[in-house]
């Protein structure tokens, strides 16, 4: 073998083994644009609302066991959240690079004060972790550039709820693919979550984030527990609904006339064709504002607040007549 061939071989191998240089600098702080999924990002989703989620029967069953008391128990208050949940959070995040001695990018890191674990995307071609290795909230992520898009695959994740506050489950066998594409001051983040136990097909979320020139100084998160449910202290008790007894199972039906099968998260309901199936079946609640089709009354508790839909009366799902600020009269009177 000639020296030339040796050098060529070395160059080729090294070119693939060595960390790729970033095509686009992702560094910076990014803020959410709240008009995307305001309800989800702000007050949180309605209980019993699994619309848009391609759940398996197992996923639906586990979601229906959920009560909002569960994350309040002492043992769960500081548990890490899903690596993908930042797409639904109201707060921003920061991206920075970790560089080697020659300035090459070893990893891109997505960090935020509510992530409770950074997602560290290794760019140095390191091998996959063993299946026996510890799973973490941020998982084990490796990335590569596809044109100007950074694509990462995340494995070794913890069991965690996929969306905020409604109990939609993700298992520890879940994987997430992340695409990061920066166009000027806008960053498109697409997450594609797959789960062999709880999703019949990938759960895809695409959001646009706004670069924040003032930066976001991340307060590194700390978490402390408190005894929020004294009756459970030292009992080992775990709050949950019994199968078939979740009172929120029909919440979307009672409140918005959404067909139960749509609310319960079947894959079919993700697609435009499903609207044809609904036509003639779905009747908007009488109290909805016709000028806001598809939005109905918004989140009940925000009525009358700045940014909330004004002067609407809503079907509140049987919880009483709402007052001028979306509260029950007795609560408003106090």
């Amino acid at each position: 073998m000639t020296f030339t061939k040796t050098a060529l071989f070395t160059f080729l191998v090294a070119a693939f083994a060595h960390p790729a240089f970033a095509q686009v600098d992702l560094t910076g702080s990014y803020q959410t644009r709240m008009y995307e999924d305001y309800i989800e990002r702000g007050p949180g989703e309605f209980m019993g609302n699994y619309t848009g989620m391609p759940l398996t029967d197992e996923g639906r069953a586990k979601a229906l066991l959920y009560t909002s008391n569960l994350p309040s128990i002492y043992e769960r208050q500081c548990l890490p959240q899903s690596a993908g949940v930042f797409q639904y959070r109201p707060t921003g995040f920061r991206i920075w690079s970790e560089n080697g001695p020659e300035g090459d990018v070893v990893a891109w890191v997505i960090g935020g004060d509510n992530l409770r674990n950074d997602i560290r995307i290794w760019m140095d071609g390191r091998p996959a972790l063993s299946p026996n290795a510890l799973h973490t909230a941020g998982g084990f992520a490796t990335g590569k550039w596809e044109g100007d898009t950074l694509t990462a695959r995340v494995t070794h994740l913890k069991t965690a709820w996929i969306r905020r506050g409604v109990g939609i489950p993700g298992s520890d066998d879940t994987t997430i693919t992340i695409h990061l594409t920066r166009r000027g001051d806008l960053l498109t983040v697409m997450t594609i979550q797959e789960d062999p136990h709880y999703l019949t097909e990938p759960h895809v979320v695409s959001r646009v984030w706004q670069w924040n020139p003032r930066g976001t100084e991340i307060a590194r998160p700390q978490c402390n527990t408190a005894n929020e449910i004294p009756s459970l202290e030292d009992t080992g008790g775990v709050p949950h609904y019994l199968p078939g007894e979740n009172p929120e199972e029909d919440y979307m039906v009672r409140t918005f006339n959404i067909p139960k099968e749509a609310a319960m998260g079947h894959a079919e309901t993700l697609y435009p064709e499903y609207r044809k199936k609904l036509k003639g079946v779905y009747t908007p609640p009488a109290s909805c504002d016709a000028r806001r089709p598809g939005y109905c009354c918004g989140w009940i508790e925000t009525q009358g607040r700045p940014g909330g839909a004004p002067n609407l009366t809503c079907n509140d799902g049987g919880f009483g007549v709402l007052g001028p600020r979306g509260r029950r009269p007795e609560a408003t009177a106090k």
Partner: protein, 324 residues
């Protein structure tokens, strides 16, 4: 085609290039595979060995090697090789977390490579001390098919047996009546690692072996006690500091897996309890699928421990609770 000499040149050149690449430490070092087993370094002096039957935890230091469980008989020689790849020191102590063959099967072969904790000057051959709960010896000595060479050499019955070895506090806790009547867990206090035995099996619903004294209430008691011993990454949730768990089967884990496992077992127990309160028979309870939501992740429809067997163990344990 690349000639051997050229290949070596290329390889050296490649190594030279890669030597300049940044190296950010993995938190979980992977040791080169020894004889088909996988070893993961979970702390500076603690290793988890996978593939030898049950998981084996190795704690190494100036006093020698402490093993939690010795795997199966068939893989004993491989386990010896894996341990030697970690440390040249002799095995001094093997703690058996139950009497199951995949936990005690290597006692003879692996133990024979070691030396007693308290060397017996009158013994024919040196052998590592094998410690277990008294019930393990009772089980093994009562089974004619099991060689006495696999029996523990030392037993205990107290709530905890504590030792100071390898500059660490080694605490062997009695948690009997969960998986079997011989369950123990081992806490390496300084290293902050707990070997849980089969109280946690991350592959499946917990194996509650009622014929060997296991029970659903014992399982829950043990999981809740483990929660008290296991410290999460808190309040500094981004830091790596936390108690690590090496379960009887399945991956290295921490507080989060333990909470999920405890909550899963508790929820299913509650579901079965509610169905019993409605007057349902075992078959009716099985048909009602009280494991819904967990069955896909944890359940098995065939093999030595099926979902139906787990439901039956929960049902029987609730109908006929074991008296403390």
């Amino acid at each position: 085609m690349i000639e051997p000499k050229g290949f070596i040149q290329a390889g050296l050149a490649l190594l030279f290039v890669m030597a300049g690449s940044p190296a950010i430490a993995q938190t979980q070092g992977r040791i080169a595979p020894a004889a088909g087993l996988e070893t993961i370094q979970v702390r500076e002096n603690v290793y988890a060995i996978f593939g030898a039957g049950a998981n084996v935890t190795a704690h190494v230091g100036e006093d020698g090697v402490i093993l939690v469980d010795s795997g199966s008989t068939a893989t004993a020689a491989q386990l010896v090789a894996a341990v030697k790849a970690i440390s040249a020191k002799p095995v001094r102590l093997i703690v058996n977390t139950s009497a199951d063959m995949d936990h005690i099967g290597g006692n003879e072969v692996v133990g024979a490579t070691g030396i007693e904790m308290n060397p017996d000057l009158f013994a024919d051959e040196p052998h590592a001390t094998v410690l277990s709960h008294e019930s393990v010896l009772t089980r093994l000595s009562g089974d004619d098919k099991i060689s006495s060479e696999l029996w523990p050499s030392e037993t205990f019955t107290s709530r905890v047996r504590s030792m100071y070895l390898n500059d660490d506090a080694v605490m062997v806790y009695r948690m009997t009546g969960a998986h079997t009547d011989g369950d123990t867990v081992v806490l390496f206090r300084k290293a902050d690692v707990i070997a849980t035995g089969d109280i946690i099996d991350l592959r499946s619903f917990p194996v509650i072996d009622m014929k060997k004294g296991g029970s659903i209430q014992g399982e829950l008691d043990a999981l809740n006690r483990l929660l008290e011993m296991t410290v999460p990454a808190m309040p500094m949730v981004l830091k790596e500091g936390r108690t690590l768990l090496v379960p009887g089967h399945g991956r290295v884990s921490d507080y989060a897996e333990l909470v999920e496992y405890r909550d899963m077992v508790t929820t299913i127990k509650d579901n079965v309890e509610a169905l019993i309160a409605k007057g349902m028979t075992l078959e009716q309870v099985k048909a009602a699928n009280p494991t819904a939501g967990y069955r896909s992740r944890w359940g098995k429809e065939s093999g030595p421990w099926t979902t139906d067997m787990f439901v039956e163990a929960v049902y029987s344990g609730l109908k006929n609770p074991v008296k403390p």
